[in-house]
Amino acid sequence: MKEKSFASKIWNLFRNNSVPFMFIIICAVCIPISGFSLNYLLAEIITRIARNSFLILSLLIPIMAGMGLNFGMTLGAMAGEIGLILVSDWQIWGIPGMVLAMIISIPISVLLGVICGKIMNLARGREMITGYIMNYFINGIYQLIVLYAMGAIIPIVHSSIILPRGYGIRNTVSLLSMRQSLDNLLAIRFGGIKIPVMTFAVVALLCLFIVWFRKTKLGQDMRAVGQDMEVARAAGIDVERTRIISIVMSTVLAGFGMIIYLQNMGNLSTYTAHSQIGMFCIAALLVGGASVDRASIGNVFLGVTLFHLMFIVAPSAGTVLMGDSMIGEYFRVFVSYAVITFALIMYETKKRRTSSLAGRELALAQKEADK
């Protein structure tokens, strides 16, 4: 009897976390095939955790407010990029440059966040697809600013950044003088593996902030709105405002995250750096076992580890297995999309099941009352 309950417990654990388990299996199969040394993998993973976790953490707040996966986080990333372009034109480097870029990104992020939040309030129930299309829309405006207005209206002087024609920013902006300035601050080398202590400290600070924020009045309001909008409204919470604030916070944090991400990369692909970032962050969060309506800090770190492990080993495992590195490349893209698709389907079916269950219970209760 006890045996059986243990087995069912394991089964439940597996069923509720099917995505992380699937990834553990994929990684377990691919790592030996790829032939990478453990040391190399560890170093890569630590770099990638430092690089990506801030961005992924920015997704948590809208999930709390019941707005689903914030595909509009890309807006923040664009704001961060604008900050970085301006700072590198002014030739302010290192940590001061990063801080200044963050300060510049804040008003832009807030503006974009408010617009995005207002539009999402109009498109209630379709927040995710709206956020997703917002990416493309704001990307158009971003291009309009960066490709045409910068240099023409917004003064850009440095010739390494501006296109030779006199306006517009080059395809890549080198951040070489800023490269890993945060990562190298107080970094510890441990058997050939660099541990970027300062970056981890910043990420830890954000984690603490999120934990603290959940307990504040505003955080509680957000959770109430996420649970049930009508009940929250009846309790006197300004639902629209709360939802906008959650998107604004997410956008601002995504802007900071993008700056941390890019200081690690060391160069900025002006027109493409942000295009995939939302998708990869969301996929990583979901791989960590999060769902559309529930995500924790633990999901973030598990997700970033597993997802990037798969990302590192898939191409070379593909080369060994199929004799073609492109197979591995396509495989990892496929897996990222498939994970998001799977998580969305799970969420929708669960939502339908609970709503039909609630309906049945209501009908039952009414029948009882009639008797």
């Binding site: 379709r126 697809i129 709206t130 493309y136 829309f137 990307n139 045409y148 893209v333 339908r352």
Partner: protein, 358 residues
């Protein structure tokens, strides 16, 4: 918008306002912009008839893809962001037609024939999935499209194609990214009954083919099944009370949309002259979606007229802006304008109030 609803003493002004309201302000702006471009064209040295031919040509390539939105919108499945799935069925049909050695005019029909079973199977599975997740169709459709495109990226490398016109020369396997249709169905429809008057050339064959399909869909929507489909889309509760099998009707609409998507990409290819594989179908859904929205469709209402107006306006802007803008201000802003206008239109449609079917 509030100004539009205000009444003034002048009846003509009122009439104009009422027209603007019924036509939709964004659509009016886009139509006005296109009209302006056509007027500007001769002044910047572009031949009006050449421009019109280009627009008509592009209209004929894309119209069927836009038409494929209609059945799913009618049955309340929302905008078909999963169009890449239909496109994949079409690509499979097209490549198989070349593989079996069909050439010339016939190869187009062979391609349609081969694409059909794939479209039915994929559309069936897709429809079955969408029935499980009513209410969240659009987001999931987007990602079903993306996953299937990236899965097919692997398949194009692995599937046993041998035709030397399609596979990479040195490896002897794996399909090329772009396959020329010269000698196959390049211009299969466009060259049929083509009219050439000076600079003006009209691809009558393609337009006729589109008209045929559009008429078919129009007629279908007026049959008993078609009316049931509209009922499911506009009021699912009423439809259920009327004894309509909602799931089956939705499934049918999804299969129909997928098949139209498959045929649509084949029509596109015969005009364009190339098959584009791998990541190419990735971003083909958004232009089609925004085209039908520009034509005046909403998330749960669309007509054939919307398809025709929308495709013409969208493709008109795509073809006209580069030529006119470039010669006017010597800046190629067309791409940016297209991105902002088309995606702005989608956002506008998503924020309109409409009953979401659950």
């Amino acid at each position: 918008m509030s100004e539009l609803t205000k009444s003034s003493g002048n009846p003509i002004v009122d009439k104009i306002r009422a027209f603007a309201r019924s036509f939709g302000l964004p659509r009016l702006i886009i139509a006005g912009f296109l009209l302006l471009l056509f007027i500007m064209a001769p002044f910047v040295g572009a031949n009006f008839f050449t421009q019109l031919s280009n627009t008509l040509n592009r209209f004929s390539w894309n119209a069927v893809l836009v038409l494929s939105m209609v059945p799913m919108i009618h049955s309340g499945c929302g905008l078909n962001f999963g169009l890449p799935l239909g496109i994949i069925a079409g690509l499979l049909g097209g490549t198989m037609a070349i593989e079996v050695g069909a050439t010339g005019f016939a190869s187009f029909w062979v391609a349609v024939l081969f694409a059909t079973p794939f479209a039915l199977v994929l559309g069936g599975l897709y429809g079955f999935l969408l029935n499980k997740i009513k209410g969240g169709e659009m987001m999931i459709a987007t990602y079903v499209g993306f996953s299937s495109v990236s899965l097919m990226c692997m398949m194009w490398l692995l599937l046993p194609y041998h035709s030397p016109n399609m596979v990479w020369g040195y490896a002897g396997k794996g399909l090329r990214t772009t396959i020329s249709l010269e000698g196959y169905y390049n211009g299969a429809l466009a060259n049929f009954l083509q009219i050439n008057i000076g600079h003006l050339s009209i691809p009558v064959g393609t337009l006729l083919f589109f008209a045929l399909l559009a008429f078919g869909i129009w007629a279908f929507l007026h049959t008993k099944t078609g009316t049931a489909m509209t009922a499911v889309g506009s009021n699912p509760n009423f439809a259920r009370a009327a004894g309509i099998n909602i799931d089956r009707t939705r499934l049918l609409s999804v299969i129909l949309s997928t098949w139209l998507g498959a045929v649509g990409i084949l029509v596109y290819e015969q005009g364009f002259g190339f098959i584009q594989l791998y990541m190419a179908p990735f971003n083909m859904a958004l232009p089609a979606v925004s085209a039908i929205l520009i034509g005046g469709a909403t998330v749960n209402k669309a007509t054939i007229t919307n398809v025709i107006i929308g495709t013409f306006l969208f493709q008109g802007i795509v073809t006209m802006t580069p030529t006119v803008m470039n010669s006017m201000i010597h800046m190629d802003m067309s791409e940016v304008i297209r991105v902002i206008a088309s995606n702005g239109m989608i956002i506008y449609a998503l924020t309109r109030k409409s009953e979401v079917s659950r």
